[in-house]
Symmetry: C2
Subunit: 320 residues, 2 copies
């Protein structure tokens, strides 16, 4: 059926070992190289990575595991790691666990059975139990966005707490006292950290009593609903929303209530909310260096595959 290295051997009069040497940088005479290349072209040979991986125990493939593919943050991570990794000859297998710890575990087994050389994960289970299986099989893991308790993993995160604190301070400096936070499920690492930053800022400004929090799903709809709840109750002077989708929803909710975010009330969102800015020029956002996160995660997993130690990298978000 498919063209194998043996067919190349037959075609060229060489043996499989020589063909293999050709592919792997061994010493092959120039005129034999030419013959091999000609045969590859003629027969349309494509190397079977299964046979290769079976022998070498390397797949040159990285598993990427996300709680939800279809959001801005995940997409950017996928895009950036894919680019960085492919330049190094690695492909990515993507899995989405839909924020379920159980599915995360399944997905990791699935990826390990695909013999991935490494794993880049936005961990759902921050105790990182799910990653145990990887460690057991000697597959290095890089956790992105969320810190786990497992020191065997590399971590690439942003300064969530500090950036959020600064962001809220900025709202306070502009005169806001009643600032409500919308962060999503606080058990999620980033939400918890960002909310903690908000609280610290409020406390240090003596606004402890004004701390207000509305919950909601990590989605545009969730942000919309949470903001409505907050704004309908005690009219806040400002909103602090700690992720992209909820930021968009919150701005929409305000507008639907006749309130311009960034104008009538202070607004600090998260990530690249530029799309809305023409309509709400005054809104601010904490900008995560998402592309850099993806790139650094890719570099880190490669470094670990090459035997490097687990790293702990914190990137800084800026406010714009």
């Amino acid at each position: 059926m498919s063209v194998t290295i043996k067919d190349l051997a037959k075609e060229t009069g060489l043996t499989p070992a020589t063909i293999s040497a050709y592919f792997n940088g061994g010493n092959v005479r120039d005129y034999n190289k030419a013959k091999i290349e000609e045969a590859i072209e003629k027969l349309g040979y494509i190397r079977n990575d299964f046979a290769r991986g079976l022998r070498t125990h390397k797949s040159r493939t990285i598993g990427v595991l996300l709680p939800e593919i279809a959001n801005k943050f995940s997409t950017s991570i996928i895009s950036e790691t894919e680019e960085s990794l492919r330049m190094k000859g690695y492909g990515i297998i993507v899995c989405d666990c839909r924020s379920s710890v159980k599915r995360e575990k399944e997905a990791i087994r699935f990826l390990l059975s695909k013999m991935v050389d490494g794993l880049i994960v936005i961990p759902e289970d921050t105790s990182a139990n799910a990653c145990l299986a990887a460690a057991q099989n000697g597959v290095p893991v890089v956790a992105v966005d969320r810190r786990t308790g497992n020191p065997a993993l590399s971590h690439v995160v942003i300064n969530n707490r500090e950036a959020s604190k600064n962001a809220v301070n900025m709202l306070i400096e502009r005169g806001a006292k009643e600032i409500a936070a919308i962060c999503g499920d606080l058990n999620v690492y980033t939400a918890g950290e960002r909310f903690a930053g908000y609280c610290e800022a409020m406390k240090e400004a003596g606004l402890e009593e004004n701390i207000t929090y509305a919950n909601g799903a990590f989605s545009v709809q969730g942000g919309y609903d949470a903001a409505k709840k907050v704004l309908e109750g005690n009219p806040a002077q400002a909103l602090f929303v700690s992720n992209y989708e909820m930021s968009v929803g919150a701005v929409m909710a305000a507008k639907d209530m006749g309130i311009i975010a960034g104008g009538d009330i202070g607004f600090m969102g998260f990530d690249d909310i530029d799309y809305i800015k023409p309509f709400c020029p005054g809104i601010l956002g904490v900008r995560q260096p998402i592309k850099e996160l993806g790139r650094v995660a890719a570099e880190t997993i490669i470094s670990m595959i090459d035997g490097g130690p687990a790293r702990n990298i914190v990137l800084n978000a800026e406010i714009r």
Copy 2:
């Protein structure tokens, strides 16, 4: 190093063949099943898909190849196919060719060497030459979003021309005569079809002379720039923008010029532009059934892998 089927055999006192039968639905006595399961748990066995794939010539992996991962359309496709395919036990390997035909070709070879069982592609090269290598290796291909000239491929597309024509007609019915189109590079299948639909509507309404087109990159910035160009020149009465990112950019550009899309001028965008709607209640959009596209693509590739024929599926977009 890693735990193999032989280790399970040793642990249970059975042979590899029996263990294999266990995994593949063969007849195994209950008490042996129990022993095997116990051994799997105890030793932490994970099946080596390389060895399996080498023997069976199946990887249970689908290659997904996109011109650009980081846009809304691609993301939705990835998300939906991943979900559908994983339910059937398939994983996806994602590649991004950054709209380059050369990289598309490379990516296909890459995916084929990973022994993918099928390919879901948004084809950059609509002559589908790049997919030849796949066909040659007996790997079925589903083209999504863009039609190619290759009848061996399945196609899952929307009724681009008709939907666009209807959309423009709607603008005309509302009284607009000077309608400008912003579609991106017309050599791209969808852009070309949608522009054709626009032209048909204009012609049939006797507005042939008003046909206006501004080019730009497939991005928010591209839409922004194109809209500025159009609106600064001959003030249009309406805009027809034929993809999501450019729609967002165009609305932003209008707003920056003091023009409310959907209010001051008619506006027909593409895909899910709800985020902006609170600020421009009058905007309309052609809604592609993106999730369905992804799901149908997944179903189609599975059907082809199971020996089914190439399909030709057209889904209808609705205007909202």
